[in-house]
Symmetry: C2
Subunit: 301 residues, 2 copies
């Protein structure tokens, strides 16, 4: 697959994910306040739509019914957006801009952002439960729901956010790679794992395939997060779209500070190589997935 | 049923609900930070456990399997607690005490409280999805999940909280009973409706029974909330356990300010009477439910 072909397919799949997200967004339905608008603003503020894209792609590649996967794909983006809305809050990262636009609390106020984040998280499950019904109560759909819920929660993504917050407060010390991995595996890898695994569950894939996809999601997430650590010291604000050297300024432990820039680069490459190797074990054509892995770790912003 | 018998049954059912909640609470599972502890603190800080109690009671009364209803009952309390944790945050009600104990953000900090509230909401769905599997993927269990998710979300409880926040900010005007009802039906009645309805769905009750229970939940919720408005002007701080006349001081529209004390009392009685009348239509013994309705609206704190 040429890079041009990959980019074309990526664009098509991103557009599809975008349209699925829009289709499943909450409507105003006569609600007299701003909550549905706040939820829509948060989701429509942009993003690569990676998680829904991955879920839909894997479901299709594994021979599943894309339309039955739509609510689950949309739900992944709602959960992801909910976490960004709360992450940006004054009490956590205190960011007023994301992707060049005012964050939800900057646009609608702090209390509205707290509740809209809650409502997006809850809405993800409203949509997932509709998805279970649409899929005719199949065990694969319930398994997909289970994977998404567990990877999002206290033992998954939210647990990782919790450790990040404790690290910033100085009550948790990520002073070795083991602890850093524990956080990264949860805050970044867990939702990527969930997207790939849920897509396969919805297609009725076997346990081995789901488990290979969990490993691929883990490795992609780790490579992606380590690349973040690297970009913080090698990129510039214009390219990155956010201030650089912020980890250094905040004295935050990263792969770079714990392993050196060269060591971090090597680890990111190892995880990428491992993800690509695992993708070769999948019982379906994984050309696009391999393209995606290469694309994600070669990003410069 | 004598009042003493009712109180005995209420105590037994509250103890049962309490034990179900404790059984389903997240464990530490080797997590190196404070998130599971923060979640447990929030849930174990107390409460009447009304929602899980109602769900378990209705499931039992309608001939269902109590053990299959347990995860759903626990989930109701996790969703309710999540909403209290976020409601108490500095950006919303800014309360440092609830039931005489430090609120979650007062005990663990604001960022931990935001994430623990999120994790509790998510955990409710982790547990509900486990419940669907435990119930053998029955349609009644998925229906219960659907009712709980919808009544909790943007068109239910969280939507009501959103309007409450907008009212406090002065961007939404509850200047007539219709608008006040819209908020009360969501912020207070929705989770009571969900508890009663989900209990019936889990027992495989017919649609008419579920719909009667929705009406009962609505009426209980409204009576309960109007009673809150009344107690704000008739009780004293010691009895109520929180400052009185807070609605008056905040110039907040309530049933009392819009209808007079006498008018509010009459409306609360109407809703109570209606709930009891509806309870008589249920195809099972509703003695305890009627006792509970009377008990809830005669509370003085």
């Amino acid at each position: 697959m040429s890079f041009t072909d990959f980019k074309t397919e990526l664009r098509e799949r991103t557009d599809k994910a975008e349209s699925v997200i829009k289709k499943w967004l909450p409507e105003n339905k006569g609600y007299p306040g701003i909550m549905p608008e706040t939820m829509r603003y948060s989701v429509l503020a942009g993003g690569k739509r990676l998680r829904p894209l991955m879920l839909l792609y894997i479901c299709e590649a594994a021979g599943g019914d894309i339309s039955a996967a739509e609510p689950f794909a949309a739900a992944m983006e709602f959960i992801h957006t909910s976490s960004l809305v709360h992450d940006d809050l004054p009490a956590i990262d205190n960011d007023d801009l994301r992707r060049g636009k005012p964050t939800t609390h900057a646009a609608y106020g702090e209390s509205a952002a707290i509740l809209a984040g809650d409502a997006l998280l809850n809405y993800a499950y409203e949509v997932i439960i509709k998805g279970i019904k649409m899929a005719g109560y199949q065990t694969g759909a319930v398994k997909a729901a289970e994977v998404i819920a567990e990877k999002s929660g206290v033992y998954g993504m939210l647990g990782g956010q919790g450790l990040d917050v404790e690290t910033d407060k100085g009550t948790f010390f990520q002073d070795d790679i083991g602890k850093l991995d524990y956080t990264y595996e949860r805050k970044t890898a867990a939702l990527i794992e969930a997207s790939l695994m849920a897509g396969a569950c919805l297609a009725g894939a076997d346990e081995r395939t789901v488990s290979v996809l969990e490993k691929i999601g883990h490795d992609i997430g780790m490579a992606f997060q380590i690349e973040d650590d690297i970009l913080d010291v090698t990129s510039d604000q214009e390219t990155l779209g956010k201030p650089v050297l912020s980890d250094v300024k905040n004295n935050k432990k990263t792969y770079v500070s714990l392993m050196s820039l060269e060591g971090a680069r090597q680890k990111a490459q190892e995880y990428t190589g491992s993800a690509i190797k695992e993708a070769g074990k999948l019982p379906f054509d994984s050309t696009f997935l391999i393209g995606l892995i290469n694309y994600l770790v070669s990003r410069r912003s």
